[in-house]
């Protein structure tokens, strides 16, 4: 498979076209702006966290296919999971995006594995990691604007 096909896998194209959890969460207790001013990617991530559990998650905004699909996949994978799980997942994904891990467990990652092609495209790492940084900020209980620039 060429690098390009690895980057734009069907999973990514699908999540870009039909993003999951692509809506506001009215009952959220975390709302984070994620922006990449140089690209113009702009998202809002909503989280409802209760008793250490991510009860509800959603996002809105616009950006490239990679940033949108990544946000969509992220929301799908942290819903109904514990805050600790999500924090671990952030660390894991961060290493994958930046190409710092050699032991990617495809089975364990599930559909998130589709994002691993990003590591071959240094200029797109920040697209993929934008929403994840926002998530991590929220988990650390910060409602500040998250920017990858």
């Amino acid at each position: 498979m060429s690098n390009l096909n690895e980057l734009y896998q069907q999973v990514i194209l699908d999540h870009n076209k039909n993003p999951r959890h692509f809506h506001k969460i009215d009952s959220c207790n975390h709302e984070i702006d994620a922006r990449n001013p140089l690209c113009g990617d702009q998202f809002k991530i909503y989280l409802q966290i209760q008793d250490g559990l991510i009860k509800n998650v959603g996002f809105e905004g616009s950006g490239c296919a990679i940033s949108k699909a990544s946000a969509s996949l992220m929301c799908s994978s942290v819903l109904d999971k514990t805050v600790d799980y999500a924090k671990d997942l952030f660390e894991k994904m961060h290493l994958i995006f930046t190409g710092k891990t050699h032991s990617i467990n495809e089975e364990e990652l599930g559909s998130l594995f589709a994002l691993s092609g990003v590591a071959e495209f240094p200029s797109r790492v920040k697209c993929a990691s934008l929403s994840w940084h926002a998530l991590n900020g929220a988990l650390k209980n910060s409602n500040e604007l998250i920017s990858t620039e």
Binding site: L4, L7, L13, C39, G40, S62, C64, A65, I66, C127
Partner: protein, 419 residues
């Protein structure tokens, strides 16, 4: 374009595109396993061997500081540095080298004028006029001085083709208008603006005007005396020169009355702790050790571009513009943003709802370098209701064959995204 049989050969006489491409070593390199197709010339142009050589030779054989030493090398460096200024003066047809100030580039030139010329003249409630198609370098410096002085910015609108509605200047100008600053050629739309009219209207109302030539000097000759603009600024790196060097032209009468922009060595005649007497023009605006090699490199770059001849350059670039416009507009799902009647060789486009950065990545995999994004012109993107565009900007060294490669890459992108 049926008359063009070999796409690597320009129909122009005395214009051997193959030979010209050989002047630019980078054009023969590979990118992602494909030959580089460099279509990001509006961001920065590539450098011919003569410019690379002159930079190396300067550091290897002539390096010294200017305007200081009494030794051989310092004299030599000073001469080369000042010869380059003369080249810029002739290139812009300024009256004298006193009117040519070395700056880092367009951005610094505009900041210099904003701070030294406009700010002292600006009072609360005054206004400065710019156009909607300015890049951020011709917006933010004015915002900074306006914020400080409680003045405001007025905007010359554009139409859906991306053309400046220059006549609206009549309505925008009032007794509180202190300055006008307009881009010559839009970097995101390619529009060539009717700056003659803008300058005429400004001067009828006794308002000084700056023309931002960042995108224009590489596409055609500029005569600042004929234009009669008060200030003109450009960056060297967009016209085959090194980065970090450019020039500000200003009418001598204005430069004389302006206070220095920065303080330091070289811009003074005499310094005591009680009082400093500033140096004469142009040195008053050139504090500290300047970008000597950059200036010399820029002089060489201007020689090089002029040796190609603006007529040749124009014909080749127009050919590329026509061909690329024709090819891209034929592709279903592609929409060209910026369709002014009078355009430079810049083609901005969007592909269905595929984000510009995805387009950029796909083209990059084919070796095609384009700019993707808002091009530092967010107000323009907002006006057209797009987050960004992909922009192919052509130089005289590009070929029609490269346009074909762009076309194929665009089609490939559409296939990936839309099946």
């Amino acid at each position: 374009m049926h008359q063009v049989l070999n796409k690597n050969i320009s129909p122009l006489k005395n214009f051997d595109i193959k030979k010209i491409r050989e002047d630019f070593p980078i054009l023969s390199r590979m990118v992602n396993g494909k030959p580089l197709v460099y279509l990001d010339n509006a961001a920065t142009s590539q450098k011919p061997q003569v410019v690379i050589d002159v930079l190396q030779n300067y550091y290897q054989n002539e390096n010294s500081n200017v305007h200081r030493g009494v030794h051989f090398l310092s004299d030599r460096a000073t001469n080369l540095y000042e010869e380059a200024r003369e080249k810029i003066q002739k290139f812009l047809n300024a009256k004298s080298t006193k009117e040519i100030i070395y700056v880092r580039g367009t951005t610094e030139g505009i900041n210099l004028v904003a701070n030294s010329f406009v700010k002292p003249r600006l009072n609360e409630g005054d206004n400065i006029i710019v156009s909607l198609m300015e890049h951020h370098a011709n917006v933010v410096p004015w915002q900074l001085v306006c914020d400080e002085k409680k003045a405001k910015i007025k905007i010359i609108p554009i139409n859906k083709k991306g053309e400046l509605l220059v006549d609206s200047l009549h309505g925008l100008i009032d007794e509180k208008t202190k300055f006008i600053s307009v881009v010559h050629i839009s970097n995101s739309l390619g529009t060539i603006n009717p700056i003659n009219e803008a300058i005429e209207i400004a001067h009828k109302n006794n308002i000084p005007i700056l023309i931002d030539g960042a995108q224009s000097v590489c596409h055609g000759s500029v005569d600042v005396q004929k234009l009669d603009c008060d200030f003109f600024v450009f960056s060297g790196h967009k016209i085959c020169g090194p980065t970090g060097i450019g020039a500000l032209y200003g009418k001598e009468k204005w430069l004389e009355e302006m206070p220095p922009y920065q303080g330091g060595g070289d811009m003074i005649l005499q310094v005591t702790f009680e009082k400093t007497i500033y140096n004469d023009l142009p040195y008053k605006f050139e504090a500290g050790t300047p970008n000597i090699s950059g200036a010399i490199g820029l002089g060489t770059a201007l020689d090089y571009v002029q040796s190609i001849g603006y007529e040749n350059l124009h014909t080749q670039e127009n050919l590329l513009l026509k061909y690329a416009t024709e090819k891209l507009s034929k592709i279903d799902k592609v929409q060209i943003i910026g369709t002014a009647d009078n355009k430079a060789s810049i083609v901005s486009f969007v592909m269905a709802d595929i984000h510009a950065h995805d387009v950029g990545t796909i083209l990059d995999q084919e070796g095609v370098a384009v700019r993707a994004g808002h091009h530092c012109t967010q107000p323009v993107m907002d006006y057209f209701g797009v987050p960004g565009t992909a922009r192919a900007s052509f130089s005289f060294y590009n070929t029609l064959e490269e346009v074909d490669i762009l076309e194929d890459a665009v089609k490939k992108g559409i296939k990936i995204f839309l099946g």
